[in-house]
Symmetry: C2
Subunit: 386 residues, 2 copies
């Protein structure tokens, strides 16, 4: 393992009764009464969640800021920051999935600065405080509810970039697995792919010893896979939903990656695609991760063989190559079985785009902590995914 510091102060409140705790949770962080409610396309109004929240917030002065889109946009964040400053907002409540929360993280940090919010994302300025915020999670996938990372898309420059700061851990996140009952099937599928991808990114790391992490990653991944099958057949299966919801949170809240840096090349490769085509992050990962695995496994077969043993319990008497194949096919076949896409061509993305994508991934030079990719490698991976 490498030297590391683990720190995660988010209060995770989980269960059927979690949302009712909203007023007492906010009271821990502000005496003020001016709340901004951030959300996405308005599904919270149809589901009744909006009304429930407004009742719980009846003692507060609530300013609504809806319309934060999937792959949250800089332009939207910039508008929200103006409102926060103008109204003197004391606390922000993000109600939504990873996009709403990621957007809210940048709203929080940028509202205390005079800079363009993009300066935070591009590290031109380091925020030193943020407007406190909490979340109510409605889509389980990205883990943003309990980490300090955020991904923002700048449509003016076609850039999709990740950034993070210890300031933007949510103060609290309220998770009720029942909220997931009415998710459209493709969002459940994308959430499963996304949380498994986070585990994969961390499993393939550069450290000499990641025994504790390997064990937790493999264990959580197997449970997500089992629960995913159940939840897709029985959307109102509470136990399956709670395993998926908690699984997605722990997949990217730092528990799994103590002592090593995950690879994260595939996320970069995917972001280059979804910065140009408005494709769901989970769908992009389902297409690109098996391609990355296929390409990189040739270079580091030992690790891929261990992966197959850890996650798919393959017979230890198999040859190394058989194990490698079993691990990659295990992931690809599972994702196909739950209805995730497998080819870039499913989204009318052709070879003509690959060079543009590849150049975008390489804006900071070669990348990938487990296996470093150059342009030739990235092009080969897009080819494997076409």
């Amino acid at each position: 393992m490498n030297s590391f510091t683990f720190y995660n102060p988010t209060q995770l409140v989980f269960g059927k009764d979690s949302i009712e705790k909203l007023p007492q949770m906010i009271a821990q962080f502000t005496q003020g009464k001016k709340i901004m409610l951030t959300y996405g396309g308005g599904s919270i109004k149809k589901s009744g969640l909006y009304d429930r929240i407004m009742t719980l917030l009846s003692d507060f002065e609530v300013t609504e800021f809806g319309g934060i889109e999937p792959n949250p946009r800089l332009s939207t964040v910039t508008k929200a920051v103006e409102v926060v400053k103008e109204k003197g907002i004391d606390f922000i409540l993000a109600v939504g999935g990873g996009s709403v929360i990621d957007g809210t993280k940048l709203i929080s940090a940028a509202s205390k600065l005079d800079n363009d919010p993009w300066d935070i994302v591009t590290r031109k300025v380091t925020p030193e405080e943020g407007v406190p915020f909490g979340t109510i999670l409605t889509i389980s996938a990205t883990g943003s509810e309990m980490n300090s990372g955020s991904v923002i898309t700048n449509w003016e420059t076609n850039e999709k970039l990740g950034w993070g700061s210890p300031l933007v851990f949510p103060k609290f996140s309220l998770l009720n697995p029942e909220i997931l009952y009415t998710l459209p099937k493709n969002q459940t599928v994308n959430g499963i792919v996304d949380s498994m991808s986070h585990l994969l990114e961390q499993y393939f790391n550069e450290a000499d010893n990641s025994a504790i992490g390997d064990a937790m990653i493999a264990g959580v991944m197997k449970e997500i896979m089992k629960a995913g099958e159940v939840a897709l057949k029985e959307p109102e299966n509470y136990e399956a939903r709670e395993t998926l919801m908690l699984g997605a949170t722990v997949a990217l809240n730092g528990f799994m990656r103590m002592g090593y840096n995950g690879d994260w090349a595939t996320h970069n490769i995917e972001h280059a695609v979804s910065a140009v085509h408005d494709i769901a992050h989970g769908a992009g990962l389902a297409i690109l991760f098996p391609a990355w695995m296929t390409y990189v496994s040739d270079k580091s077969p030992e690790r891929f063989a261990k992966f197959a043993e850890d996650v798919f319990d393959v017979d230890s008497s198999l040859s190394q190559q058989e194990k490698v194949d079993a691990g990659i096919n295990g992931i690809r076949d599972y994702w196909t079985s739950i209805g995730a896409p497998a080819h870039l061509s499913d989204f009318e993305i052709t070879e003509d785009d690959f060079e543009t994508f590849a150049d975008k991934t390489l804006f900071n030079g070669p990348f990938g902590n487990f296996y470093q990719l150059d342009k030739e490698a990235v092009m080969a991976i897009y080819q494997l995914a076409k």
Copy 2:
């Protein structure tokens, strides 16, 4: 799972260079210069760690408080509290294992109150603030370095009681696996038993669904068992030491028990013994856990069969009873193989003591969240351990 709130604000700093970060870590929590250094029997002076720390603290005014004993005593804590109040201590640095840290937690909380420290342990008073403290861990076992619990022994009343408060999370804990190289062998063994016991207590819980927890517990336990064998043969094997050290921390920092209450009967049964006989906690657990498992497995064989599958990968075609036996024997045989004791008689504890112990365990009535024990059950468990 049950509804739960997870919150753990301790900064965990891990690695060969962790201790060098001490001054900057303290500076996050106080501008004051008055530090109390708490430690145990003085092994830190022999090892050179004391000198290293004093050099790092050269800008501070350090008050030493050594002599916190294994199974830390109320009388010692009470003396330390007087010193903290008299000197106006700004920050406490605990250097030691679980006993020093547990004692320091009570010093921290009691120093801001006029009550007897025992009133906190017995819940007569709820602390509302504490003197901030951090830790440098020298024995890896209890997990106290990253949780808010503490166990204190009152030799006047022969009581050994656990208590906790969110106030007494260490602000930071600095963990360098190299510190474990020179541990006496029996302390390494007790640490392995203690951390595995924490995992066992949590695996056997009352919840309907603990899929994520089961997976993490089983995975971490297997890695501790593997690393334990290596570290006992090669005390200076860094990778084995880091797995044991991180494993013991995550075994009781809340990661594993999201959504359920562990059983914790065996800890109560053990505390009753070590409140009277000055036996190491890990040694007591090695003797008593297999006895508890044997007694309770008759009542809940399904769970014990799953345990054997999860931790010992037993063949799924075995009968339920064969699986149950394989799980219990797996734990007992492993502990015996690493040199842990297996019988109360090894410590000259006889049947004559059992009723006294049993009465002590039942001071609050029947106990155990997975399986509730009454006096007859507790007596039977001591018989199985004799």
